[in-house]
Amino acid sequence: MSGLLEELLAHPLDRSEQNRLRARERLRIIGLPDARHEGWRYTPVRSLLTWPLHAPEVDPEVEVPELPEDLIEDLEALEPDFIYVDGVMQEEEDESDDEEEEFEERFDNFEDLPDFDEPDLDRAQPYSRLHPDFLEDGFELANIAFNQGGLVLDIDAESGIEDGVDPDAEQTLVLAYVSSSEPAGFPHVRHRIRVGAGQSLTLVEHFLHEPDSKQALNLGHEIELEAGATLRWVRMGDMGDANQLLGFARLRLEAGASVHLYELTRGAGLYRQATQVDLSGVGARCEATAVLAIDGRRHADLQWRVDHRARDTSADLKMRGLVSGRGKLSVGGSLIVHAGADGTDTRLSNKNLLLSEHAEVNTKPVLEIDADEVKAAHGATVGQLDERALFYMRSRGLPETLARQLLTRAFAFEVISGVDDDSLKALLDMALTKMMAKPA
């Protein structure tokens, strides 16, 4: 057993928290993953094991790290509803206007897990309804067992009507995560979100960092979409050369629900995001698009898995990797069509550009079909910029750097060209433009 795991399990825990206890027991059995685990083959696990894993005592009112001016300006420009600095949610200090307050009141905030026995909160426990097969990752179990809280959102039609808000109105929640230069160990944050039947939510997550920050964050999401619900989920940013992210997202979609996920990132020193989507209701749909621009000595590991468990469900996954310097990217994409999920339409396309000699990409698309009348397509490519196109552009007078820039930009933007929602398109454009502006 690693010293880290021992340390984890020695962390004090309230006996009444059954979810945590269960995760802890499981963790004790399976331990933390190492490079022999298929899903972790390309991730330098050892570098993760160097962290003091349990989170520091949470007392946001005492220790709020000072952030530099320009970072604060960047943050303010994003107009986040909630800010996490080193995994700790910051208390709102300024008096927000009524409208904002009203909005925030609709979301219950917990510093810690709700009591498992409380009936009202049972609805906000989507994880308990997820497939137990997936409780197989030590770091994810650690997130469940040792998280210091997170948002618990429950968006449903009644609360919208009660508040005099148009129940069909689009709700937007903006979160920002900041890695400061204060040493903060390895905080574990876990959000639980439920979007009620027919409701829709846009969740935007920004990742920012102080230039000399060196942090790790274990970030979990449990998301449940009830029948006909819609989630637009945008994650974007740059977590810095020395920071690490372990992300675990679990989504469960009921009949006719749909998720549209966009993950546009420059990654981190180590960036690992595993996202698993259970399409458990008839006609549920998952659209997911990732653009990862990985440079320097960064390492990114994107693991996506879609489980089709009901008839006529559909998935469309697009991942684009741009890797330069000594950057490393590994992409895993699994489309699993379970028995009974007849009429499924599932596709995955992963294209990667190697922009330097030492850049590295590993890609592993997986397709398993156990149902009938399934349409499935998956493909992965690793290549370089089109030499003919580069020469054509240069022969017209474009300097090489500009020609390369235009081609890499085109490669990245291609995946969002089909977005027809104007405000979403603008947000994605902004994120990609920012990402691609830095020298790749």
Binding site: R394, S395, R396, G397, E414
Partner: protein, 257 residues
């Protein structure tokens, strides 16, 4: 304007051009004809500076300057333009943006002020008309979804916009119907001037009815094997390239005896 002396070029380890000589003066139009695989496109690429087309012997002078030391974009700024035999589709790069970026990059490299978008669009409209290209093509990605003929006309349109000193047209006529061919010729003829030279590579004589050359060369097996006036093109059309091959054999036999 352009002086090529004893040019040897290797591509992928294979010698393609084997001692080519060519001298094009300002204001002249030279046609280069030759069978498939003779090295015509290779000549175009090596003039434009494509990677992997290595000059192993000889030299290329452009207005007295050694062209081979310049990067492709520097050659463009110096006034070299290649109309590609197979224009490249560049998805995701807007045509208008590309053209303006190209024009302004060239101007910047020459120390000229950049052109603002108003004047640029005016220039674009003017040149489009000559080639009867649809405005709508400007909003697409570079060459994406263009028909074969549109791609070729787009090459000439780019040339008209960039106003090079030396334009090399690589089989711009192939795949064009007679009307499109006339438009292309019109576009070229509109640009003919005492300061501008053309090297027109073609497989067929047909184009030369509309773009009347000063000199016609036959390129075969990596060398210019015959040069003459525009009547040479007609003779070639009549007798085919085997005629040239036979004549060469006779010449070589005469030389060795």
């Amino acid at each position: 304007m352009l002086t090529i002396e004893n040019l040897h070029v290797r591509v992928a380890g294979k010698e393609i051009l084997k001692g080519l000589n060519l001298n094009v003066k300002a204001g002249e139009v030279h046609a280069i004809m030759g069978p498939n695989g003779a090295g015509k496109s290779t000549l175009g690429y090596v003039l434009a500076g494509r990677d992997g087309y290595d000059v192993t012997e000889g030299r290329i002078l452009f207005n007295g300057e050694d062209l081979t030391t310049l990067e492709p974009d520097a050659r463009a700024a110096a006034g070299v333009f290649l109309a590609f035999q197979y224009p490249v589709e560049i998805p995701g790069v807007n045509n208008t943006y590309f053209l303006r970026a190209a024009l302004n990059a060239q101007r910047k490299a020459r120390g000229e002020p950049e052109m603002d978008s108003m004047n640029f669009l005016k220039l674009v409209r003017e040149k489009l008309k000559v080639l009867h290209l649809k405005d709508e093509l400007l909003n697409r990605a570079v060459n994406e979804g263009f028909s074969g003929g549109e791609k070729k006309r787009n090459e000439i349109f780019q040339m008209a916009l960039l106003e090079p000193k030396l334009a090399i047209l690589d089989e711009t006529d192939s795949g064009l119907d007679i009307d499109a061919l006339k438009l292309v010729a019109e576009g070229v003829n509109a640009l003919r001037s005492a300061q501008r030279s053309f090297v027109v590579i073609t497989h067929y004589q047909r184009l030369l009815d509309y773009i009347v050359p000063d000199v016609v060369h036959v390129l075969a097996d990596g060398r210019i094997v015959q040069s003459g006036d525009k009547d040479l093109a007609l003779k070639l059309e009549e007798h085919g390239y085997t005629w040239i091959r036979e004549r060469r054999r006779e010449e070589q036999a005469a030389l060795s005896s």
